[in-house]
């Protein structure tokens, strides 16, 4: 039988790139929730989890610094991602996780007669190795894990609509990335029905063939999860995220990067002993973005199914 430590885990860790282009020289987000959608559930030797996660991400808020700006162009930007992820515990301490993704982007500007642009295709893949030096036991309420991962540009990053579309409309970033990850969990009781969960990760983004690099990213999450019984749990948390400006060559792209603080609620039902269903969301609380004007996250919500073998 599967066993998840804490309700937080990957379920509440959904986070996306947070901004989109508003000006001629701006672009900052591939809109792909890869790292935080990865399944990291497997803990006991031989455990295997497979999950399917979707997220709908609306990127239509127009912001100048931390100030909301009315958008008269009627711009609507949406990214929809589907991720299949697996995690497998090699030992009680070592596990590996991997995911593949499919991404759809839509960009509509209602004030323009040239209509909307849609792209879809296979996105990036991620592989993550995780080591858990401290695990929760009946005699220990702390858990600490470390991870090292790679993002692999496995597919389309040069889709065109006559001409090659901007990086944020491509399913794949077309660039490698290195991921450092760590997570800490504290169980408030012996049964670990109430837990505190914190994660931190850093992604170093490389350049694609067009010399474009999304900004490096730091993401911090802290939340509390409550397992209300054998079938239902929920969690609430806050996610702080900071990205550097995107760059092309050695030059930063204006109006990209910034800081975001989001409220992240999530609920989870165990439909059977092996099958979990989850819903989660992300609601911006505060943001302070670089440059004069950026489109950024309005909200996002996600759905997940996870099966344990």
């Amino acid at each position: 039988m599967k066993h998840r430590v804490g309700t937080a885990g990957w379920l509440i860790a959904l986070a996306l790139c947070g901004s989109g282009p508003a000006l001629g020289a701006t672009c900052s987000c591939a809109g792909t929730p890869l790292l935080t959608a990865i399944d990291t559930s497997a803990r006991e030797k031989g455990q295997l989890f497979i999950s399917y996660v979707t997220e709908d991400h609306r990127i239509s808020d127009l912001v100048s610094g931390s100030r909301d700006v009315r958008d008269e162009t009627g711009r609507d930007r949406e990214s929809f991602s589907q991720v299949v992820s697996a995690s497998y515990a090699l030992t009680d301490r070592w596990a590996v996780s991997a995911l593949v993704s499919h991404i759809e982007h839509r960009r509509t500007i209602r004030s323009s007669q040239l209509g909307e642009t849609r792209t879809s295709g296979i996105g990036d893949s991620v592989i993550l190795a995780r080591y858990t030096p401290i695990v929760i036991t009946p005699f220990n309420r702390h858990e600490w894990a470390l991870g090292l991962g790679l993002r692999i540009p496995s597919a389309d990053d040069d889709l065109a609509d006559g001409f090659i579309l901007s990086e944020d409309m491509q399913p794949s970033t077309g660039a490698r990335g290195t991921i450092l990850w760590t997570g800490y969990t504290y169980a408030f009781n012996q049964a670990a029905t109430v837990v505190f969960n914190a994660t931190a990760n850093y992604t170093d983004n490389q350049s694609n063939d067009r010399q474009y690099a999304f900004g490096d990213e730091v993401s911090l999450f802290a939340g509390v999860g409550h397992n209300m019984g054998p079938r239902f749990s929920y969690s609430v948390g806050l996610r702080y995220r900071r990205t550097d400006a995107d760059s092309r060559g050695k030059f930063d792209i204006p109006n990209t990067g910034g800081e975001w603080l989001d409220f992240v609620p999530a609920v989870q039902w165990s439909l059977t002993d092996r099958l979990d269903l989850g819903l989660s969301g992300r609601i911006p609380i505060a943001r302070d973005l670089n440059g004069a004007l950026q489109f950024t996250t309005s909200y996002s919500y996600g759905f997940s199914l996870s099966y344990g073998f």
């Binding site: 001629g24 672009c27 007669q113 040239l114 609509d161």
Partner: protein, 528 residues
């Protein structure tokens, strides 16, 4: 009968003398060649064809009084229809195309229409044509006997040239008589039709630009919103004197479009009144290349305004016209994609200078209002330190040409294959005037680093008079005086003196950042 010819002392039959006279006349005629044309005339009204493509032909009608020309092209589909397709009358493969529009000199650049849907000699169904046209047809005549038809039906993937001649020569004499009655134009070089290659090839993908040189910058079409109904104010006390403006003078309408607003909108679709007639004009300014141009309404149809595509070529704005959806390169000033491909807009002069200089030249100017209907902070520059640092946000051609700083503002001019730039900061602080020759054109260059001003015109008048200019200080809007004693403004208009009212010919020129000019026009000379 014979005639005595005393000089030779011999006699020749009269028939031989007549033959000799005829030969002399023929030789003289052949040496003179056909009567060259200065303008299309009604002697060209005729049926024309090419012997190499028999079975198709052109009917041409010139209307000299209204400077218009009409062409009917009777031809066929590109393939034979299936054999089981039959026509009651004629052939199911028949096609007829028409073109009409104004001509200039011996050339007419026309929109080509295809008519569909009618039946023989019946009021209904009403035949229809795509009002935007389906391509272009250029008609050009060197003399009264031969011409050239150049067509481009981009939607059908058809383009080419057809040399044409008359079916019969009856009207040649009329044409040559009309041509002889007109004064021939002098040899002043005609302005180039384009900054770059006049008839660039259409590449794979249907554009004249290589696909890998065009970038989607992210905002999407009209994501940078053009201004459609601009409002103006008088005074403009809140605008900093050093702020750059794009100055426009059309008739007696004088307007300034400040960079701080254009940075956020890039396009202003404006309306002017010229001699009581409303006319449209589009001001575009690309903040990434620092270039501003003014195009008159396209002669296409209906909505002749422009929008932003969200695409960049050499970091430069690519516009689209709302009538046909064709894409236009701002700095090439030419359509690069769509059914208007290779078309060139009608261009008018703008003067980019500081608000202080512009207001000193035109105190009653109108200023584009910040009340644009958009929530933008016009005190904020949207591209960080881009206009002053050395960065390039998108790949550009020839980016290693470091003869000048990348963001150095230069006044550039193209004449044929010749390209020259004049750094604005390289002009004297007072008004400086240079009488120069660029390529095959004698030009006058006006510049001032103190006034932050630059413009260049053809200094050869239509009657081939070549003027010499000298600067005039402290008498704005007058900036120069010619050798005949006329005073001229920065728009190349003589305000007083014997040439008062004369307009110098516009050149292919504007101000841009150096990196952009050398990306589009590599190898440009730099004024030393």
């Amino acid at each position: 009968m014979s005639v005595r010819v005393p000089q030779s002392g011999s006699s020749l039959p009269a028939s031989r003398i007549c033959l000799a006279v005829l030969i002399v006349l023929l030789v003289k005629t052949a040496a003179a060649g056909p009567q060259p044309l200065a303008n299309l005339n009604s002697g060209l009204n005729d049926a024309w064809f090419s012997p190499t493509t028999p079975g198709q032909g052109f009917l041409l009608v010139v209307f000299p009084n209204i400077q218009q020309v009409f062409v009917a092209w009777f031809t066929y589909d590109t393939e034979r229809p299936p054999q089981d397709v039959a026509a009651i009358l004629g052939d199911p493969g028949h096609r007829w195309l028409t073109a009409q529009g104004p001509y200039q000199g011996t050339r007419a650049d026309l929109t080509l229409f295809v008519t569909r849907g009618g039946v023989f000699n019946a009021p209904t169904p009403v035949p229809n044509t795509d009002s935007a046209g389906e391509g272009t047809l250029t008609l050009e005549f060197a003399d009264c006997t031969q011409g050239m038809v150049t067509y481009n039906l981009a939607g059908s993937g058809l383009s080419g040239e057809i040399p044409i001649q008359r079916v019969a020569d009856d009207n040649v004499a009329l044409c040559e008589t009309l041509a002889a009655s007109e004064p021939m134009a002098c040899e002043r070089p005609a302005p180039d039709l384009s900054h770059g290659i006049d008839n660039p090839s259409v590449l794979e993908g249907g554009a004249t630009l290589p696909n890998d040189e065009v970038f989607d910058a992210g905002p999407g079409p009209d994501g940078i919103p053009p201004l459609e109904d601009p409002q103006f104010v008088q005074g403009g006390a809140s605008l900093a004197p050093s702020e750059l403006v794009v100055g426009v003078k059309i008739g007696d309408q004088i307007r300034a479009y400040p960079h701080n607003i254009l940075n956020w909108h890039e396009i202003v679709n404006d309306r002017f009144t010229v001699n009581g007639t409303p006319e449209g004009g589009t001001i575009s300014y690309c903040p990434l290349t620092g270039s501003a141009v003014l195009w008159q309404d396209l002669d296409i149809c209906c909505d002749a305004s422009f929008g932003t595509t969200g695409l960049l070529h050499n970091s430069n704005l690519i516009l689209y016209d709302r009538a046909t959806g064709s894409f236009w390169s701002q700095m090439l000033e030419q359509s690069v994609f769509g059914n208007q491909i290779t078309a060139i807009p009608k261009r008018l002069q703008v003067i980019e200078t500081t608000w202080a200089t512009w207001r000193a030249m035109y105190p009653d100017t109108l200023l584009l209002s910040e009340d644009t209907g958009f929530s933008r902070d016009y005190n904020d520059y949207p591209y960080g330190t881009f206009r002053t640092d050395n960065s390039l946000l998108w790949p550009v051609n020839n980016e290693d040409d470091d003869r000048l700083g990348r963001k150095e503002r230069v006044l550039g001019i193209n004449v044929g294959d010749a390209s020259r730039v004049y750094p604005i900061s390289g002009f004297a602080s007072d008004i400086e005037v240079l009488n120069e020759r660029v390529g095959a054109m004698d030009v006058v260059v006006i510049g001032s680093s103190g006034l932050n001003l630059g413009a260049v015109y053809n200094r050869e008048l239509a009657d081939c008079t070549k003027l010499q200019f000298e600067p005039v200080q402290d008498q704005l809007p007058v900036v120069m005086r010619d050798n005949l004693g006329s005073d001229w403004d920065a728009f190349g208009v003589a305000l007083s003196g014997p040439l008062a009212g004369t307009q110098l010919q516009k050149t292919n020129s504007y101000i841009a950042f150096w990196f952009a000019w050398t990306a589009f026009f590599p190898g440009a000379d730099i004024r030393q």
